[in-house]
Symmetry: C2
Subunit: 400 residues, 2 copies
């Protein structure tokens, strides 16, 4: 089975990035449905009709996201009624929920949101008034969802269950989250298992992080689990989690559980590490703060890196990374610390220290370990991102 995802909203063509495509693709692939097309279309009924007709002709499942609101530029419901010939009817089921939810403060215009396609299965929107709908039409399944992720994502569980029932051979998926390993290295390492189990796999490469995905029919679950066990043994040194785990989430959970604190000393990444760590709500319970020591003067005066170290080994060296990490731990009085110093480019590289060279220091109370990585032929944004991912993974290895 395959699907088309239609994103409605002129803003998604003109200025706003459509961030949902990979989300839908991954959610669908988890149950064995392939996302075949994604179409973005303006808030224009004619354009919408053409897109939906294309999707109906070329796929089994059509997911339409957006255009369910009560304003003049929301056309999805009317268009679906026109295409399918099914009437729009007033849903007492939704009205009841609105009454329970809003009581006397229920505004009459919200009742417009009770209009649904005749025969549609309704899915409650717990974070908004645009409810989801599943419509069967000419052996195709049309799913209407509100635009905001906060609204449609909580509905997905019910949609997954619905679609799962239609699938003859359900698919299960395992996602391994890895860091500090190159895509090709990973593929080489895993080649024997892939061949032994004839695995259907994907490798998604990020900035010095990777995701390894295997999938197979549910009836072969035992085989997949055997493969999973073997994979875990092989990639043990680079595995930090599964599914939706991120490095900042995983290290946050460990620090919280162990009641330990963290500080950071950043040069080339200048705050990106501290920013990522504090994207986790509640991170103030373990993250005290850090210093962005972009200039050598700050490395010396604030982080107390010895001027001899900077002179002899340079700012980008394991020796400087060592002192940055050791000293921030002491100055900020934390249990752990991370330092990053490198050359993000585009200029500033030399033959001995090219753009992409980055050094790290990871400390606990007793010791400081330093590391060196080279991200060659990469741009500034990648080098900053890869440095931060690597640093978080190196800390993970120390605290796990």
């Amino acid at each position: 089975m395959n699907a088309t995802y239609i994103a409605t909203g002129s803003e998604l063509l003109d200025f706003k990035l459509n961030r949902y495509t990979p989300l839908f693709s991954q959610k669908l692939s988890k149950i064995g449905i392939k996302l075949k097309y994604e179409i973005t279309v303006r808030d224009d009924p004619d354009d919408l009709i053409k897109s939906i007709n294309f999707a109906i002709s070329n796929s089994d499942i059509i997911i339409i996201c957006g255009g369910l609101g009560p304003t003049f530029d929301d056309h999805t419901r009317n268009v679906i009624s026109k295409i399918t010939g099914k009437k729009l009817i007033f849903s007492k089921e939704i009205e009841k929920i609105f009454h329970q939810r809003y009581g006397k403060s229920l505004k009459p215009n919200i009742l417009d949101q009770c209009m649904v396609i005749d025969g549609a299965k309704i899915i409650e929107n717990k974070n908004g008034t645009a409810f989801g709908e599943i419509i069967e039409y000419n052996k195709k399944t049309i799913i209407l969802l509100p635009g905001p992720q906060l609204e449609w994502e909580p509905m997905w569980g019910e949609i997954e269950k619905y679609l799962f029932k239609k699938i003859k051979n359900p698919i299960i998926t395992y996602r391994f989250k890895l860091a500090d390993i190159k895509e090709v290295e990973l593929e080489n390492l895993l080649k024997p298992v892939i061949e032994e189990f004839k695995l259907d796999f994907t490798i998604l490469a990020g900035a010095n992080i990777c995701e390894f995905i295997i999938r197979g029919e549910k009836k072969n679950k035992k085989i997949l689990e055997d493969a999973k066990e073997k994979i875990e043994k092989i990639v043990f040194n680079n595995l930090y989690g599964y599914d939706d785990d991120t490095l900042e989430k995983v290290i946050g959970e460990i620090l919280l559980r162990k009641k330990k604190t963290l500080s950071t000393a950043e040069s080339c990444t200048s705050g990106l590490l501290a920013h990522k760590i504090t994207n986790i709500p509640g991170s103030s319970l373990y993250f005290k703060g850090g210093v962005n020591a972009y200039s050598n003067e700050i490395k010396e005066k604030i982080l107390k890196v010895k001027s001899e170290t900077l002179k002899k080994y340079g700012a980008v060296s394991q020796e400087t990374a060592f002192e940055m990490s050791r000293n921030i731990l002491k100055i900020f009085k934390t249990d752990y610390s991370i330092s990053i110093t490198g050359i993000a480019g585009p200029s500033g590289g030399t033959a001995l220290k090219p753009v992409g060279l980055v050094c790290f220091g990871i400390s606990n109370k007793n010791r400081t370990q330093t590391y060196k990585r080279l991200f060659l032929n990469r741009d500034r944004a990648y080098i900053k991102e890869a440095s931060v991912n690597t640093a978080m993974f190196l800390l993970y290895k120390m605290i796990k």
Copy 2:
């Protein structure tokens, strides 16, 4: 005239964000062409044929990005040949360029990249071997471009010129970059000019930043310029640039020109400000660094905020922001400094200090100015982003 943009590549469905849609929309809209549809499609010839046929039926211009490489999953050229009935021919023009470019190191497989659609206009790819092609077919214009932005963007000038000739009424566009003003306020302020000049306009709202775009036919350039002048007077207090200007770019240029230095003290944004500032290559010439004082302990011990201030006014107060900014300027010995302290949520808010309350301090050698903003009903990511944009704009106002 209108266009469809087709993005090819399974990775764009499965995991990689398609970041080009707004870019193409803005580039096309600049010359008066409306982007009507965007379609993402797998590296599958059948899927590609269906998408292109849809685009040909429903738009005047079809831009196909990707699938021009020499590997087995690049199908664009063959598919276009099939659809249009035009043969693939060997281009001596491209061969000549390859010989000049690579000389004896020219590998035979690169010569496969000389195959083009018969009659196509060739556009040189200065950063790769997949050249662009413009094909006229049944009164429609089909444009083939390589996938990487680094490769297609330098070709756009030539494509723009080509398309511009086809347009009967060329369009010109002015883009105003604004900060620290709400979308609705901006619209109210500009209503009189919009009505006076009957402006065709768009407002793009970001995190406490806005873009105001006006467009009109080239023959009415004089009128548009009069409108532009009036707009500038009205939004003077919130205008920081034009076109592709960003706040980090604009403040970087001023600091560089005036040979001044900057430091930062961040609480709730914890490094995001320093990260943004250092996304500009060469920012080490004016940015010395900063402190991410996520905990009160660090605010007191490192940033020397008085414990009475923290006790009496709280960490999120203009008083604390004042001391953070004043002290980081002194500690880091810079000409200017920025401080941010706020409540990014989701928890930590109170009735008096709700989630979204953020205080700022902006200092030069002689004075420190403090500000307070409230980003209500927003999530953590928005509050961090809006705080950083606001802080950079407040600095801009001091240094401009």
